[in-house]
């Protein structure tokens, strides 16, 4: 099997894989990173989404061979319990989630949104997240949490 190099959460990772393996399988099974979740395998739900060179993309169908040298950000790269990203802190503060299965994809999508638009309106947040599905109905709390994180990230250090 060929060796493939990716930059995952800022770290160069080299591993053997079939180039046709999906990024999601590589993340979960080869790199042991379970944050990106299998939801549909058809790029329709957002549970698996990661940032590829800063853009929110589903990882469940994209072949890893097409991503050589690209930079991948997963929810694990966003923050840790000790050092959470402002989005993660805001999601906890607003209790923005129920079952939580959709949250990894939503968190990275929100990160991409705030990177390009630091003070989005509620409508802009909703539009950015609209391809991500949430079945529990935590939508309003999630919108509130993203807005809260945005407002905090605006404050100059």
């Amino acid at each position: 099997m060929p060796k493939i190099k990716l930059i995952v959460n800022g770290r160069e990772r080299e591993f053997e894989a079939d180039e046709r393996e999906t990024l999601l399988d590589v993340l979960r099974n080869r790199l042991g990173m379970t944050g990106s979740r299998f939801g549909c395998g058809a790029e329709q739900c957002g549970s698996c989404s990661v940032l590829i060179d800063g853009e929110d993309k589903p990882s469940c169908a994209i072949e890893v061979g097409t991503l050589k040298g690209k930079s991948i950000l997963t929810v694990e790269g966003l923050g840790t319990p000790e050092k959470p990203h402002p989005l993660q802190s805001a999601f906890l503060e607003k209790q923005a989630g129920q079952c939580g299965y959709c949250l990894s994809g939503i968190l990275v999508c929100a990160k991409a949104l705030l990177d390009r638009n630091p003070s989005p309106s509620r409508t802009e947040i909703a539009e950015a997240l609209s391809w991500h599905l949430c079945r529990c109905g935590a939508h309003n709390r999630i919108l509130d949490a993203v807005a809260l994180a945005a407002s905090r990230m605006q404050v100059p250090a």
Partner: protein
């Protein structure tokens, strides 16, 4: 009186113990799936024992480790399990205080507890739960004499508490899919298209070639599973298998049976109850029929099961709704005695009822029994979950009513056609291993049928009667959030609005006039205030404001919902409001989260959702075929809880669905001046209805 769940598990230590200094071990028979039940139950125990929340170690639900409380269903955890843990904690507290009082030669009444340490006249006594733990044997039955705290003494109950299950999920873990397993064997199952289907041909060589890696094939009866150390290989194998298998007697999905009214054409078992038929009269009468199609649970993650059989023991990890019921199924399927089966609950994505979780667990166990020593991980595909989970049944409801000279509804009849709302206890793998075995017939339980929940409107009506026809549906159906309750409430509360129209009365005033219960009046009046009901327009302008009310299952929470919306090309929800009285609320923020989530799910059912039958069963097997409400379609929502801390707690998880469905329907009727009765309210259905008028 000793609560039922405590009577069934009558050893205090099974619920509460003090195994290490500063820690309280608590075990509940309910499971967490994102509804926050563990947090709420822990609040009850911490408050009753007077210890800080951080001291509680809540045991993960595993067979043998936790009390048997059956399934975690029906918004009953707080009512049922909460009552049991409160009573158990009160007994434990009383035992410890009595022991301390005996040592000091004082009355237990003069002792207080401060975070587990016993205090007398504001001074620490040096005794506490942990210092006395060795002296008190909790392997004893409850006596039912201890009194629990009155609400005025609650410190933790009634205050919002962050959910204990949420943090791990925000940092990328926490689910059954995430359990790290050494040397795991990935598995995919090719589902049998209906219980009668037998394999005609299976081209194993072609499948092995397509897998592009080593695979093992388990084949027995009509059960086919592909195993490999490579997840990619099994994914490719099962996809290829669909092209390289032929079936005899595969089921056929008939598109026309997707519509609720088609239930009337299927075999059914009737049940009747209530008042005798009405005498002929000159009263004004009204009849109308309503339908909700089949609904998918639509869990965000397809079902998952893990099992390992080694020696004589089967170990299973499951996201089923309880560990003991599934152990019984596994014993039957594997032939093992229950004590040789260890079941550990691990959180899964939200299930909202009986989805594929039990089936995936049984798949994994059946494979593990045939491959001893391997850890088998079964992942269902999205198309398996949509195509083979038990559906929430379609329902068709025909209502008729009579109003007296004052306009009041005095006689009400409902005839319901519904598939079963409860068909647990068997798994798809059983039918596949023994193809041709028919599934058990629908359960007809005279004293409880999910199809009859909230079958009559929650008002003072002189005569009501129900006829329920439990239909054998074309696809397996089982419990979905609220069972038949939300659908009956939808129909009844649309009907009440229609009756108000016939009586020429405002819908809110009409409801209030038929309600004598002050708690019902309070939620109705308050929803009127919140929604600005007094300035509601005459209607027909394209903008609508509607409301609905019910008492959950006729004995639970009181809940009213109002919705404002605009009908353009599609229906755009502008705002939703909810007022509820669900008695003493343990964790207000948790309850609000559940209630709001239910409103959004109900809005999605009402506006968008319908499972389509076709092909070899179900034709809508991807999210693109089964749209649900999205972020840019969800309106702002206000949920208000009426403070009723002196009343018993009432479940909240399912209460908001029915009133939300009906409030949307009533708002649409207000906006259009035309009533639509069959769900979902898609653009096509609205257009058809407008054209037919």
């Amino acid at each position: 009186m000793i609560p039922q769940s405590l009577q069934a598990n009558p050893v205090l230590e099974r619920w509460i113990s003090f195994p290490s200094p500063g820690k309280v071990r608590v075990a509940f028979g309910k499971v967490e799936y994102g509804q926050g039940v563990m947090t709420a139950l822990a609040q009850i125990v911490a408050d009753e024992l007077d210890v800080a929340m951080e001291r509680l170690d809540v045991v993960n639900a595993a067979s043998g480790d936790v009390p048997d409380e059956g399934l975690t269903v029906g918004s009953m955890s707080i009512e049922m399990s909460g009552a049991a843990v409160r009573a158990a904690a009160a007994e434990v507290r009383a035992l410890f205080l009595a022991e301390a009082a005996a040592r000091f030669g004082c009355s237990a009444d003069v002792l207080n507890i401060l975070d587990g340490e016993f205090v007398r006249s504001g001074v620490s006594t040096g005794l506490g739960y942990w210092t006395l733990a060795s002296a008190i044997d909790l392997k004893r039955a409850p006596e039912g004499k201890a009194r629990w705290k009155t609400p005025d003494r609650h410190r933790i109950v009634g205050k919002s508490q962050p959910r204990s299950d949420l943090p791990v999920k925000i940092f990328g873990g926490g689910f059954i899919q995430d359990i790290p397993l050494k040397d795991v064997t990935h598995a995919r199952v090719l589902r049998q298209p209906g219980y009668k289907a037998q394999i005609a041909t299976l081209d194993e060589a072609a499948i092995r070639k397509a897998a592009r890696g080593d695979i093992d094939i388990v084949r027995e009866g009509a059960f086919i599973a592909f195993l490999s150390k490579s997840e990619r290989a099994v994914s490719l194998a099962v996809a290829a298998a669909e092209q390289h298998v032929t079936w005899n007697e595969a089921r056929v999905g008939v598109p026309a049976l997707s519509e609720p009214v088609a239930l009337k054409t299927l075999p059914a078992t009737p049940w009747e109850g209530g008042a005798p038929p009405p005498e002929p009269s000159n009263r004004r009468k009204h009849k109308a029929s309503y339908g909700r199609p089949y609904i998918a649970h639509g869990s965000m993650g397809p079902s998952h099961g893990i099992a390992r059989f080694e020696g004589e023991t089967l170990k299973v990890w499951t996201h089923a709704q309880g560990v003991y019921p599934i152990r019984g199924m596994l014993a039957r399927i594997t032939g093992l005695p229950p004590e040789k089966i260890q079941v550990e609950h691990t959180q899964g994505p939200g299930c909202y009822g009986h989805n594929g979780a039990d089936d995936a667990t049984c798949d994994a166990a059946a494979i593990a029994m045939r491959r001893p020593g391997q850890t088998i991980r079964v992942q269902w595909r999205r198309e398996d979950e949509f195509g083979y989970e038990p559906l929430g049944t379609a329902m068709h409801i025909e209502l008729s009513g009579e109003i007296d000279s004052s306009g009041r509804l005095v006689d009400f009849s409902s005839e319901i056609w519904s598939g079963p709302h409860v068909s647990r206890g068997t798994a798809l793998v059983e039918a596949a291993l023994a193809p041709g075995t028919p599934p058990p017939p629908p359960m007809i339980i005279p004293f409880f049928s999910g199809g009859r929940l909230n079958a009559t409107p929650s008002y003072d009506i002189a005569a009501t009667r129900i006829k329920e026809n439990v239909v054998t549906p074309p696809m397996r159906t089982s419990s979905l959030r609220g069972l038949g309750g939300p659908v009956n409430t939808y129909a009844c509360e649309c009907f009440i609005d229609e009756m108000a129209g016939i009586a020429g009365t405002d819908p809110l005033a009409y409801r209030l006039a038929m309600t004598s219960d002050p708690r019902a009046v309070a939620v109705l009046e308050h929803i009127g205030v919140l929604s600005g009901w007094s300035t509601r327009s005459a209607g027909g302008s394209g903008e609508g404001l509607g409301l609905a009310y019910c008492r959950h299952r006729d004995r639970g929470a009181y809940i009213a919902v109002a919705v404002s919306l605009v009908v353009e090309k599609e229906i755009r929800l502008q705002r939703m409001w909810c007022v509820t009285d669900c008695g003493l609320v343990i964790n207000p923020d948790g309850a609000k989260n559940q209630i709001e989530g239910g409103m959004i799910m109900a809005a999605s059912w009402t506006l968008k959702e319908q499972v389509r039958l076709g092909g070899s069963g179900i034709a809508s097997t991807a999210w693109d075929d089964y749209p649900i409400l999205r972020f840019n379609e969800v309106p702002p929502i206000d949920v208000e809880l009426i403070d009723q801390r002196n009343s018993a707690p009432l479940g909240a998880g399912e209460i908001s669905l029915g009133p939300t469905m009906a409030a949307i329907a009533n708002a649409v009727a207000h906006a259009l001046g035309v009533r639509i009765r069959d769900l979902p309210y898609t653009r096509e259905r609205i257009a058809r209805q407008l054209l037919s008028n």
